[in-house]
């Protein structure tokens, strides 16, 4: 009989609810210590895969779910990074350090030539709703009570990681080191 850690219930609830566990949360260390157990526990119980990234975040994935939120969030991030780069900012640095103003993000996306892509993915609540959803998942956190200011957590790196893997996949498919990017990206 396995001795469950006292945080077990919270851990399972958080992860199966689509949340990331960050290294700043006490639960992170518990899962890290019991990684082998949790890996097999989630696989055997739910058929989910546990991912523990040394950058400091944990999440679950499944082949069977159809989930639209993360695709939408990727589009949001892609356009946001594009706009930040155009403005000459090092977006990677911004994502690690900067506190973003919700209004500022709205204005930035409003000006973007990819505006319609973003509008397409937004629901009635607009950007605040989208941010709120990902705040609940712990990919970002509001830094004031009015929720007008936020910063990204380490978990956002998963989306960057994906972008880099996408490039590698493309390169492999094209079978060459040439990245076919037209200059209109920037």
């Amino acid at each position: 009989m396995h001795n469950y850690p006292p945080e077990h219930r919270d851990i399972v609830n958080a992860l199966t609810n689509g949340q990331f566990i960050l290294y700043t949360q006490p639960h992170y260390a518990v899962v890290e210590k019991e990684e082998a157990f949790y890996r097999s526990f989630f696989k055997a119980t739910f058929g989910f895969d546990l991912h523990l990234r040394s950058e400091g975040y944990i999440f679950l994935s499944s082949d069977e779910v159809t989930e639209k939120d993360s695709r939408n969030f990727l589009i949001f991030l892609a356009v946001l990074c594009r706009e930040l780069s155009i403005n000459g900012q090092d977006f990677k640095e911004d994502f690690e350090l900067k506190k973003f103003q919700v209004e500022e993000i709205k204005n930035l996306l409003e000006k973007s030539s990819k505006k319609e892509l973003v509008e397409h993915i937004l629901t009635d609540g607009g950007i605040p709703k989208l941010l709120n959803e990902w705040q609940k998942r712990k990919v970002l956190e509001f830094t004031n009570t009015l929720q007008t200011q936020f910063k990204f957590t380490k978990a956002v790196n998963l989306f960057f990681e994906y972008a880099m893997e996408l490039v590698d996949t493309r390169l492999k498919e094209e079978g060459s080191e040439e990245v076919d990017i037209s200059s209109n990206i920037l």
Binding site: D69, R82, I181, L186
Partner: protein, 406 residues
């Protein structure tokens, strides 16, 4: 008339034409200081440089291919004064390291003490050359990387930036750190330590004071070079590498996002699916395909027995009330102690099913003027069960006019 060139002439020429020389130098910097004739001529004419002087001072010489090559002595000097160098291939650093090793071997194996001073000076020069080159390269790389990071001076096209960062990292910086790394046995740092220890020992035990002095100089030089190299190596590892890795990473992320947005725009799935993150909702402990399984179970194992619906056959009830017949029957039974009881019993003889409607069609005789009813106030009531109702009725006595009690 042949006029010998003096160092003064050269310096005057350089100082007068520095801008033009700089343009030639910049144009050739990335091509090993070889300029195509057309480019060379264009810059020369635009800056009013005298071809005769350029050739006389041996600043440039024409190759058999008609291209112009700038002389190394000048380019080295210009690199130094403009603090701008072309990146050297790491092989060159290796070559330097090898030369230092060879020089040092020669010095150790030299038996003729008269030749020792030359060996020492030569080794010292080798060390200095090596350090100067690495120092220049590192500065250059740092400056270029800063520029690349801000994507200012350099081509800002993403593809070019990724390519540049990748090339610098793979071709220069990683090999450079390998040459400098202290824990590799043939690393230059290890070699320097050996030279250092050797020179130190010699400077202490060499009986010839002149030689001892030279060894002391060598010791100082080796010490300085190894300290400087450690500093540069740290700078490369601490500043250059993270900066370039960051550019490479950021650019790669942008490229990935570009592919993603393109895929979305073309309404197709990206080449790589994203992780299937879980939906954000409370989840019960059951399998994700429970619905399919439940449906399969219901479809296959819970077969309901066949049921047949029969047409309801209406009972043949064509009984019709006949008030005269009732009245006659009632008259024949008078006097009646319990009128409602009589109605019920009478109907039972007429029809199998007694409904409320039928009951009233008989009991309405109570109101007939041929009869007299006797309603007892304290009579007890009784229940009568009919087909479609239950009645609570009093006991009523009924008489004909002739039988009225006195």
């Amino acid at each position: 008339m042949y006029k010998p060139t003096t160092p003064d002439d050269i310096l005057r020429f350089m100082s007068k034409n520095l801008q033009g020389l700089r343009l030639l130098f910049e144009a050739g910097r990335r091509q090993g200081y070889v300029l195509e004739q057309a480019v060379f001529e264009k810059i020369r004419l635009e800056n009013d440089l005298d071809l005769g002087d350029l050739l006389r001072f041996r600043f440039a010489k024409q190759q058999p291919t008609q291209d112009y090559k700038l002389r190394k002595h000048y380019t080295d000097f210009l690199e130094f004064i403009f603090e701008s160098a072309a990146l050297n291939l790491p092989d060159r650093f290796k070559f330097h390291a090898d030369s230092i090793r060879a020089q040092f071997n020669d010095l150790q194996q030299e038996l003729d003490t008269a030749k020792l001073p030359d060996h020492i000076t030569s080794l010292q020069n080798q060390l200095d050359d090596f350090l100067t080159e690495i120092d220049t390269q590192t500065r250059q790389l740092l400056r270029d990387t800063e520029a690349l990071k801000a994507s200012g001076e350099h081509e800002s096209s993403l593809q070019a930036r990724i390519a540049t960062a990748t090339r610098w990292l793979d071709s220069f910086i990683h090999p450079l750190t390998q040459v400098l790394q202290a824990n590799s046995p043939d690393a230059i740092i290890a070699q320097l330590h050996i030279i250092n220890a050797y020179a130190h020992k010699k400077s202490l035990f060499e009986p010839d004071p002149e030689l001892a002095r030279l060894f002391r100089h060598l010791y100082g030089e080796a010490l300085r070079v190894s300290e400087e190299l450690t500093r540069l190596s740290n700078q490369i590892v601490r500043e250059l590498m993270p900066m370039l890795e960051r550019i490479r990473r950021s650019s790669k992320i942008m490229a990935g996002f570009y592919h993603l947005l393109e895929a979305i725009r073309q309404n197709r799935e990206p080449d790589l699916p994203f992780y299937g993150l879980l939906n954000r909702r409370n989840r019960k402990v059951y399998s994700t395909d429970w619905k399919v399984r439940a449906e399969m179970l219901l479809d296959n194992f819970f077969i309901e027995p066949e049921r047949f619906l029969e047409d309801v056959v209406e009972a043949d009830d064509n009984w019709l009330p006949d008030t005269n017949h009732f009245k006659n029957s009632l008259k024949a039974s008078l006097p009646v102690d319990d009128f409602y009881g009589w109605c019920y019993n009478f109907l039972k003889t007429e029809t199998p099913i007694i409904t409320l409607h039928k009951f009233f069609s008989v009991s309405k005789l109570l109101l007939d003027t041929d009869f007299e009813a006797d309603f007892l106030e304290d009579t007890h009531r009784f229940d009568l069960e009919l087909e479609d109702a239950t009645l609570s009725l009093p006991t009523i006595k009924l008489y004909g006019h002739a039988q009225l009690p006195a």
